[in-house]
């Protein structure tokens, strides 16, 4: 990444051009439309938190952004280039790292073997291992353990280690906190903040999340397949409680 924006993240949010941009994206499973025209911009080096209740279309948005799903209409841009319809594996090789909801690891592979899979993105194994074990010493102790037997927090760390080691342009995180203890969640978001400081643009999807707002530069509230509001975390508090508690 060319632009390093250390520290002043709020500044990054307003001034930079978008690195990941969804424009008028609609998506459907078979006959049912899930996204009804989503416009979303993740500015370069910024963290955008996408929040909303169950079934709002957050996971589908991620799926479109990472290339697993093709939008029925609309465009996806990465760093200004149109990547609509480019496959997930191709995007991954171009520096998009996605940690999907609750299953960011291969449960029957060992920790080390899981990390080896990250090398498809074009980094060498030594680097991946060095970064992963330095950031998460616990993974280093368990490098030969089968990943499915790690605790939930360690599994998410393993998934995140990939995000750290690849040094991606864009990081897409889906429900990072699901089923994890608050302390673990805070630790994970500390790492998200650290990755953000290296200039990576991050899109985080969360359902219940005040923790993520502490890390995010921008937050968007999504309801029924549409983005209802975007703004600084402080600006959208009202929208947020309306979306959850139906006030």
């Amino acid at each position: 990444m060319s632009a390093q924006i250390p520290g002043s993240r709020s500044g990054a949010a307003s001034s930079s051009k978008p690195l990941l941009e969804l424009r008028g994206v609609t998506a459907a499973y078979g006959g049912i439309q899930v996204l009804h025209g989503v416009d979303l911009e993740v500015p370069e080096g910024a963290v955008l938190a996408l929040l909303g209740p169950n079934g709002a279309g957050k996971t589908t948005t991620i799926s479109v952004a990472c290339g697993l799903m093709e939008p029925t209409a609309g465009k996806v841009y990465m760093a200004g280039a149109d990547v609509t319809g480019v496959g997930a594996e191709e995007l991954a090789r171009r520096g998009v790292v996605t940690v999907p909801e609750g299953k960011g690891i291969f449960p029957n592979l060992t920790v080390k073997e899981n990390l080896l899979m990250a090398t498809y993105a074009g980094v060498d194994m030594d680097h991946v291992e060095a970064v992963a074990y330095e950031q998460f010493p616990r993974l280093g102790e368990r490098r030969t353990q089968v990943a499915g037997t790690l605790s939930g927090g360690e599994q998410q760390m393993l998934a995140m280690a990939r995000g750290l080691a690849v040094n991606p342009a864009v990081l897409l995180l889906d429900e990072l906190s699901m089923g994890l203890a608050p302390l673990v969640v805070e630790e994970l978001y500390g790492i998200v903040a650290r990755i953000a400081r290296t200039g990576t643009s991050i899109l985080v999807v969360e359902q219940f999340a005040r923790t993520v707002l502490g890390v995010a530069d921008l937050a968007a509230v999504m309801v029924n397949g549409r983005v209802r509001a975007v703004g600084r975390p402080s600006e959208i508090e009202n929208e947020l409680s309306a979306a959850y508690f139906g006030v």
């Binding site: 605790s151 089923g179 608050p182 969640v185 219940f208 999340a209 005040r210 923790t211 959850y244």
Partner: protein, 248 residues
């Protein structure tokens, strides 16, 4: 049920959860994603085996019984991920519920199961009644596979009612319903409870839970972090933290 603990591999999904549902009572079970609500349901129904603890239905310990035996003692449920019979029509889904109940109510032998055909007025009448009560009357002949989720969930509820349970476990029954439909659904639940049915309700729509439940349990990381009537739970700090994240 009392003191149910469920383990998966290294994970402990539920730790010593105890709760009870009385006749005619609606108990709400809420908590963030991954808190263990569905696992609790599965343990109660016998789909997963708890590593410790017991499940009692009407005072009888059913911990060692199969899923279908528990059902015959009056335990009914719906599923978070729909489990409708998608190749059958709406009315046939409910009909299967009624018919299966008839086979075990009559202690039917296999031969009798063979002979239990339709054309039997009571079955039809019961199916019609259930469909009408759920507002599905106009959709009786529609294949369930082609219904939107909200209605498919109602079909699942209707099917469970066909088995005439005394305790009903509902796993997110209102997701997929719009606001007026949810309000109707809330009234339906109150009516069912009024008729003596005990209901354990897992639901993300906290508003609905607060409206209909007399008692609410909040589950987080597999254990109960709060329980009591809606006002108590609403005011509980731990609950707010569980939902919106700690540390604020």
């Amino acid at each position: 049920m009392s003191g149910v603990t469920v383990r998966f591999g290294g994970h402990q999904a539920l730790t010593d959860v105890s709760l009870g549902v009385d006749e005619g009572q609606i108990v709400g079970l809420i908590g963030p994603n991954g808190a263990g609500k569905t696992t609790l349901f599965n343990a109660v129904c016998g789909v997963v085996t708890p590593s410790a603890g017991s499940v009692r239905i009407m005072g009888r310990d059913v911990s060692n019984l199969n899923t279908h035996r528990r059902a015959r003692l009056g335990l009914g449920r719906t599923f978070q991920r729909l489990e409708v019979f998608s190749s059958l029509t709406v009315s046939d889904n409910v009909r299967v519920g009624v018919e299966i109940r008839q086979t075990w109510e009559r202690r039917g032998t296999t031969a009798r199961q063979f002979l239990a055909t339709d054309g039997n007025l009571p079955v039809d009448a019961e199916v019609d009644l259930i469909l009408e009560r759920l507002g599905l009357g106009g959709l009786a002949d529609v294949p369930v596979g082609s219904l939107p989720t909200g209605q498919a969930r109602l079909v699942e509820l209707g099917r469970a009612l066909g088995a005439r349970p005394s305790v009903l476990l509902l796993d997110e029954p209102a997701s997929g319903l719009d606001d007026p439909e949810t309000a109707d659904f809330g009234r339906l639940l109150t009516d069912l409870a009024g008729a003596g049915l005990g209901i354990l309700l897992v639901e993300h729509d906290v508003g609905l839970v607060m409206d209909v439940c007399e008692h609410i349990c909040v589950l987080d990381f597999g254990s109960v972090i709060a329980s009591g009537d809606p006002e108590v739970v609403r005011a509980n700090e731990a609950v707010v933290a569980a939902y919106l994240g700690a540390g604020t």
